[in-house]
């Protein structure tokens, strides 16, 4: 009798599909496509297969393989798309960076040194971090314990760059002599998401319910407004003191999104929009750096008349020259953008060499990562996981929008990097960590519900049966 009960309550031995083999097949493509791209660049530039072809292919394959094996072992039910998509973007990014390393115009610059080897190293470190998160983070809910520590760490990371010299007009780097520089904002993104998720999970009821209704909106109590005001103030401060429009926009956007998801109150969105509009007007009026950016966005081609930076105009011309199908790998002149061609402006190279088709594909891949993250949030069973997955995905999406929009002239340019593709160690490391957390949450979310322990009540019911 009892064996009968267990049979009906446990999941069948086949279990829900783990989708690991799907992931493996997709990963094969994610490695092959950049390999072909790499060969293509070599053939276009020198007429022969690049010498590093084998090493590069094996390296990327190995990294992807390690990632896959670890996912198989430690996150068996994880979302099968996240790892291949991230690998593909990272691989393509590496090829573009390597391609721009061969660009004569960039090589002629004074401080030129090839970025691809470094980027490959950081990609390996990124995968290592991905693996480490999967292995050591047994359950994402552990992160909830570190809510307030996260807040302190995030604040330190955000404030630290103020004490370091500005580079290229923005204070977003921590320079460690001899080791290079670090962009703490990229890591702060994740840590802040943890803090927001933990904090909002506790406070959501107070924020959602203790409110007055006014003109169809639920107005929060004054004291509940505190946190949003603090975050707003911090992001404005970042903007003013670190002259970093992107980071400030990203954090505020992420906070408003998470607040909205936690409380289900549209009023927060309204507040958020009003405050960011107010902040934008204020900063635009008083901060010359931001004014410059806005002017450069409105009149990109004035740069040729007044001698200011022509980056946006050059990026736009790179996109336009690519047209629908692009010039083909290695055959464009996106290196005309000059400074930051392989980091903030990396999408322009995609635009010129792969054309509209290539950019649409890349944007779709980013969109897919965001939507898989949000799908994870939907599936997550605990509110902390939901909030965290939603926050991280939205932050990723906003970052892509802010960077790509800036490069394509849709919004003013901000100093942020395309996740996974752009050259920059901090960015690669942080985004691999971000994906690792999403993978972990999705594993928990998709894992079949544990078999309920054989209920002692079962016997009793039978006893009571008439």
């Amino acid at each position: 009798m009892s064996s009968n009960t267990t049979n009906t309550t446990t999941i069948s031995t086949a279990g829900p599909p783990s989708r690991r083999n799907t992931e493996l097949a997709l990963l094969a493509f994610s490695v092959l496509i950049p390999c072909f791209a790499y060969a293509n660049v070599g053939l276009a530039l020198d007429g022969e297969m690049p010498s590093g072809m084998l090493g590069y292919g094996l390296g990327l394959g190995l990294l992807a393989g390690v990632g896959h094996v670890v996912v198989r072992k430690f996150a068996r039910y994880a979302d099968p798309l996240l790892l291949p998509l991230a690998t593909l973007l990272n691989g393509i990014g590496l090829v573009i960076i390597w391609r721009l390393d061969q660009a004569p115009r960039l090589m002629a610059k004074k401080f030129f040194h090839p970025s691809a080897p470094n980027q490959l190293l950081f990609s390996a470190l990124g995968i290592a971090l991905f693996v480490a998160v999967l292995i050591f983070l047994k359950d994402h809910r552990i992160l909830q314990r570190y809510t307030y520590i996260s807040m302190v760490v995030a604040l330190i990371l955000l404030v630290a760059p103020m004490f370091f010299p500005a580079k290229f007009g923005a204070r977003i780097w921590i320079t460690i002599p001899g080791l290079g520089s670090l962009q703490p904002g990229e890591f702060a993104k994740i840590i802040l998401a943890i803090f927001f998720a933990g904090y909002l999970m506790v406070k959501r009821d107070a924020l959602a319910l203790a409110s007055r209704r006014f003109m169809g909106l639920y107005l929060p109590r004054g004291r509940d407004l505190g946190p949003i005001l603090v975050v707003w103030a911090v992001s404005i401060l970042i903007l003013v003191f670190e002259t970093d429009l992107g980071t400030s926009l990203l954090f505020f956007g992420m906070f408003v999104v998470m607040l909205y998801v936690a409380t289900e109150r549209t009023s927060w969105i309204v507040f958020g929009l009003l405050m960011s509009a107010g902040g934008a007007v204020f900063v635009n009026t008083f901060e010359p750096h931001v004014q410059q950016r806005v002017d450069a966005w409105l009149h990109p081609f004035d740069a040729f008349k007044d001698g200011s930076s022509d980056q946006i105009a050059q990026a736009l011309m790179a996109f336009g020259s690519g047209g629908v199908f692009g010039t083909g790998w290695g055959q464009g002149h996106s290196d005309l953008i000059g400074f930051a061609a392989n980091s903030d402006f990396i999408l322009a190279t995609v635009g010129e060499e792969l054309g509209l088709a290539g950019v649409m594909a890349i944007l779709l891949i980013y969109g897919l990562i965001v939507e898989r993250g949000l799908r994870t949030a939907l599936a997550a069973r605990d509110p902390f996981g939901k909030l965290l997955a939603c926050g991280l995905s939205a932050a990723f999406g906003i970052q892509v929008f802010v960077v790509a929009g800036g490069v394509m002239g849709l919004i003013p340019l901000t100093g942020m990097t395309m996740p996974f593709m752009a050259q920059g160690g901090s960015s690669v490391l942080a985004n691999w960590a971000l994906v690792a957390i999403l993978v972990k949450i999705s594993d928990t979310a998709r894992r079949p519900a544990p078999a309920p322990a054989p209920s002692p009540d079962a016997e009793m019911t039978q006893v009571v049966r008439p």
């Binding site: 004569p104 115009r105 002629a108 999104v257 909205y260 998801v261 936690a262 289900e264 081609f301 040729f304 022509d310 105009a313 736009l316 011309m317 996109f319 336009g320 020259s321 690519g322 047209g323 629908v324 002149h333 005309l336 635009g351 054309g355 509209l356 950019v359 649409m360 944007l363 779709l364 980013y366 969109g367 965001v370 939507e371 949000l374 799908r375 949030a377 939907l378 509110p383 939901k386 909030l387 939603c390 995905s393 939205a394 999406g397 906003i398 892509v400 929008f401 790509a404 929009g405 394509m408 002239g409 849709l410």
Partner: protein, 484 residues
């Protein structure tokens, strides 16, 4: 919490959608505009990424392309004997653009011309790079050399035409410049030097500079006299008193020295270059008729394209004394050397003025001819009969008048000298002019105009004959030699 998460998902989807729409906007809708934007360096890079087509004279190229170690512009233009050919080719610079033939036929030279579309497509399929076509000119290398060497280190210009077709045979201007000097990407110093040089070496004097035509304009005045029936015969006496006072003034028009100008026939008047006779002809005909005649020869035409556009030679509306002075080329009428060559050519070609041109053919890289210029008659300023009368008296000028320096053994040559005063109270150095034509077996194969911005020593009417006529003679001889 799922409802807001779904909304956030939609929001993120919209963000990506906005990016995609923007991308379509810049990479599809605005793509062409951005691709060809004036600040888009790719346009120049593509332009110099392959050897440029050549400009060809007498089957020999006068241009070339050289591979450079510049990262952006792979090939730069080179010129063979650049100083001599600069008035024909113009320059094609990686930095400063192009002018003249280099500019006008740029699409053919770079291979971008629509008519080369088929070639381009084939080259693309077979994996060859784009190639430029060639521009085949009408010029005569020997004549050009004679003109350029004849001018030497003097300041001046030569234009020579084939009167029968309008082909430009020589087009020289001195001081000149070598366009190779400014072809590259780091030639700022040479560019500044050339553009600020007060001798204006980059000015194409043969086409772009107008001068007072001086006595050479008397040929136009004589044509007007014959065409309007003022005098029917070049050997009968004219109604020309001496001294003669300019109409509406008390100023007596002077002749150069003591020459037999009283009631002189047109032949004698042209032979000695009588100011009084032709001044009076112009005054008798009036401004309107003189202007009409000048316009038939090509004056007052702002759009004379060879295809390089020549500066407008003018014969303006004017009051009576000024019009009389214009009849001897000493008022506000001005002419380019090309214009005066056209005058000589029309007379030599029995009154028919052919449109001057210097591009004979445009040729695709596979040697297919994509365009051939057909000679076109521009006008008929003279009847055939009057043209022959005028030829006869111009030939007298060379035979025993002011133009004896242009005589060629065994060849009939007609010409007219001129020395144009200029500057306030004629303070500037005069311009020595000579226009002439030579006759061959079959019509006249060459008409030439020479102007030399004179030096101090040449303040008389002989200047034209002394300075300019030998140059014209050299050019005519060169053409006659190649004609055989």
């Amino acid at each position: 919490m799922n409802k807001p998460v779904r909304r956030i998902a939609i929001f993120c989807g919209l963000l990506v959608l906005a990016l995609m729409m923007r991308d379509n906007w810049i990479q599809f809708v605005q793509a062409e505009e951005l691709k060809t934007h004036e600040n888009n360096r790719r346009v120049l890079i593509a332009r110099y990424s392959q050897p440029r087509g050549n400009i060809i004279v007498d089957g020999q190229t006068v241009t070339g392309s050289k591979e450079t170690d510049n990262t952006d512009f792979k090939y730069k233009r080179t010129y063979k004997n650049g100083e001599m050919w600069a008035p024909v080719t113009g320059y094609a610079s990686q930095v400063y653009g192009a002018n003249q033939l280099e500019k006008l036929d740029d699409p053919v030279l770079t291979g971008d011309d629509d008519r080369l579309f088929f070639n381009r497509t084939v080259d693309m399929i077979t994996g060859k790079g784009k190639k430029g076509g060639d521009v085949i000119t009408t010029l005569n290398a020997k004549a050009q050399e004679a003109a350029f060497k004849g001018l030497g280190n003097k300041r001046g210009a030569v234009a020579a035409l084939d009167p029968r077709t309008g082909k430009i045979l020589a087009l020289a201007s001195t001081p000149s410049y070598d366009p190779s000097r400014i072809a590259g990407s780091d030639d700022e110093k040479a560019w500044k030097e050339l553009t600020s040089d007060k001798n204006q070496p980059m000015l194409n004097r043969a086409l772009k500079q107008t001068y007072p035509p001086g006595s050479t304009f008397k040929v136009v005045t004589a044509a007007a006299a014959l065409q309007n029936g003022l005098y029917k015969d070049v050997d009968s006496k004219t109604d020309s008193p001496l001294p003669w006072t300019l109409p509406d003034t008390r100023v007596q028009l002077q002749n150069e020295g003591n020459i037999p100008c009283k009631e002189a026939s047109l032949r004698v008047a042209l032979q000695y270059s009588c100011n009084t006779v032709f001044g009076k002809v112009s005054a008798d005909l009036g401004n309107k008729k003189m202007m009409d005649q000048a316009e038939k020869f090509g004056f007052n035409n702002p759009k004379l394209d060879t295809p390089v556009r020549a500066a407008e030679s003018v014969y303006p509306k004017d009051n009576r004394p000024q019009n009389a002075m214009a009849g001897i080329g000493q008022a506000s009428n001005r002419a380019t050397p090309l214009q005066m060559a056209m005058v000589a050519a029309a007379v030599a070609n029995n009154g028919k003025l052919m449109e001057p041109y210097m591009v004979d053919k445009l040729r695709a890289p596979n040697l297919n001819v994509i365009e051939t210029h057909t000679p076109k008659q521009l006008n008929q300023p003279l009847s055939s009969e009057n043209a022959q009368k005028l030829q006869s008296i111009m030939e007298t000028v060379v035979e025993k008048g002011t133009g004896t320096n242009a005589q060629i053994d065994g060849v009939t040559v007609g010409g007219k000298t001129g020395t144009a005063q200029h500057g306030v109270d004629n303070s500037g150095n005069p311009y020595a002019w000579f226009i002439s034509y030579a006759k061959g077996k079959d019509g006249s194969p060459v008409a030439v105009a020479v102007v030399i911005e004179g030096s101090e020593t040449t303040r008389d009417d002989i200047a034209g004959g002394k300075l300019a006529a030998p140059v014209a003679k050299g050019v005519m001889e060169a053409v006659l030699k190649t004609e055989k």
